[in-house]
């Protein structure tokens, strides 16, 4: 599970950098918004991975 946490943290950092890069490198508002949204989606994916790493394995109920 430690790998999942590291992956999640790295994805969050990558998503943040993507958002900032979108603002710096693009000029039109729609393009900036689109790529910044993609960066935020990467961040949320990273957060989801980090969250998933903390969900304990649970016993299944017997039928």
């Amino acid at each position: 599970m430690i790998e999942l946490r590291i992956a999640g943290i790295l994805l969050m950092l990558a998503g943040w950098m993507l958002m900032l890069a979108a603002v710096v490198m693009l000029n039109s508002l729609p393009a900036r918004t689109g790529f910044a949204s993609a960066g935020l989606a990467v961040e949320i994916l990273g957060l989801a991975l980090l969250a998933g790493a903390h969900i304990p394995k649970r016993k299944k109920r017997d039928a």
Partner: protein, 421 residues
């Protein structure tokens, strides 16, 4: 003297928000941890103030003074203030800088209380203080500078034409989102309370011990929030009398909408209204509207509050049921989720082309900066100084285990000791 009277008065209202939040957190905990909960809030506020004065104020800097910048594609990005340690950059003649420092000290105290709520009932006091010191010295000040101190988020408007730059009058991002995300990190690292989840992952209810102080705390928080938003608007956005009055009205309208929408949502979902979720709806609406209260119209503030009240009810369920995170006071849902909604709503309702993109970048920046940093540092701290109390101490209650005295010495606090087996 008259020019400092109003902002100083507004700043001096902010401790009521601290009191309100301490009461809410304590009321939502079990009675065996009541004194420890309030003491943790007090200690967190104290540590936060000192850590900010010693280190944080150097990073958050003084508005208008030289700051550390880097040049990116020909534009200057402010990344840290240029202040000195021990707040030596502040001078008795610079009353605006001193007022801003007063405001920031209260703001960091408020931010420090939020993780205390998330880690309640199992977070040791020593570890709480250590973690808070780090938050106040090295996490909060950067976010503070970027948003309020003239840093790169506030410069998005002047540098890239994105509306007015990232807007956050009352700290929805600086205080609430930062604190809420740190609460999430601490809840992950500490794990759930004993008996919170069954082996199959079903959460069991652990009701708070005093709904009345939760609700009284919510009312007190309203006054504190009005001071917080008003002071932020005056100090960082040059708000005039009209904007200030609008901020007060919008804060009250949003909170009212949030409480009622949470009440109706719980009434619809569970058959009866839930007192603690209604209080959470009220506070979540305060959190959400704090980003934009001086700038939006009254119907927009009402909408922000109404949505916040509904969102917080569902967010608490998602955090507990889906994410399997134990959050006794709902701090993550109220402060982090409420903060995100408020910041994005500011992008929708505050005028300015590109304003929504500026808010999006701000939200992404706070999440991308706070979560990795808080997680890595607190994970490391936990290896050196264990954060979680031992199981026997948790069962006994932190009041007796850590403090040696309960909050309610005349009353039974361990019902299960007296049940027939």
């Amino acid at each position: 003297m008259p020019e400092i009277a109003l902002p100083l008065f507004l700043c001096l209202l902010i401790p009521l928000a601290l009191v309100g939040m301490a009461l809410i957190n304590t009321g939502l905990n079990r009675s065996r941890n009541a004194a420890h909960s309030v003491l943790s809030s007090l200690c967190a506020a104290s540590v936060a103030v000192l850590a900010f004065v010693i280190v944080g104020s150097a990073i958050s800097g003084v508005a208008g003074e030289p700051a550390h910048t880097i040049s990116i594609a020909g534009r200057a990005w402010g990344w840290a203030g240029g202040g000195a340690l021990f707040a030596r950059s502040f001078h008795v003649t610079d009353w605006h800088g001193l007022l801003a420092l007063i405001f920031q000290l209260f703001a960091v105290s408020l931010a420090a209380q939020i993780p205390v709520a998330g880690g309640a009932e199992r977070w040791r006091l020593t570890a709480t203080c250590l973690s808070t010191g780090f938050l106040a010295a090295l996490v909060f000040p950067f976010v503070d500078f970027w948003i309020w101190g003239g840093g790169f988020l506030s410069q998005l408007g002047s540098n890239y034409g994105l509306g007015n730059g990232f807007v956050d009058a009352g700290g929805a991002g600086v205080i609430q989102l930062t604190g809420g995300l740190t609460a999430l990190v601490m809840a992950w690292l500490l794990g759930a309370r004993q008996g919170k989840f069954t082996g199959e992952g079903v959460p069991l209810a652990m009701p708070g011990h005093n709904a009345m102080i939760v609700l009284v705390g919510s009312l007190l928080a309203l006054v504190g929030w009005m001071g917080l938003i008003g002071a932020g608007a005056v100090l960082f956005y040059n708000a005039g009398p009209g904007m200030l009055l609008m901020a007060v009205i919008n804060t009250l309208v949003a909170a009212s909408g949030g409480a009622l929408s949470a009440l109706l949502t719980t009434r619809t979902r569970f058959g009866k209204p839930d007192a603690s979720l209604t209080a959470n709806g009220w506070v979540c609406a305060l959190v959400a509207v704090s980003a934009s209260a001086p700038f939006v119209k009254i119907p927009e503030a009402l909408l922000i509050g109404l949505v916040a009240g509904v969102v917080v009810v569902f967010a608490i369920e998602v955090v507990e049921l889906r994410m399997q995170v134990d959050d006794p006071a709902g701090a993550i849902s109220v402060h982090a989720v409420g903060g995100v909604w408020g910041l994005l709503a500011a992008g929708m309702f505050v005028s300015g082309q590109g304003q929504f993109l500026a808010q999006l970048i701000g939200v992404g920046t706070v999440i991308g900066f706070v979560v990795p940093l808080a997680y890595v540092v607190n994970y490391g701290m936990n290896r050196v100084v264990p954060h979680r109390v031992d199981p026997a101490g948790e069962r006994q209650g932190l009041d007796l285990h850590e403090l040696g005295a309960g909050a309610y010495p005349e009353f039974v606090t361990h019902r299960e000791d007296f049940l027939r087996r």
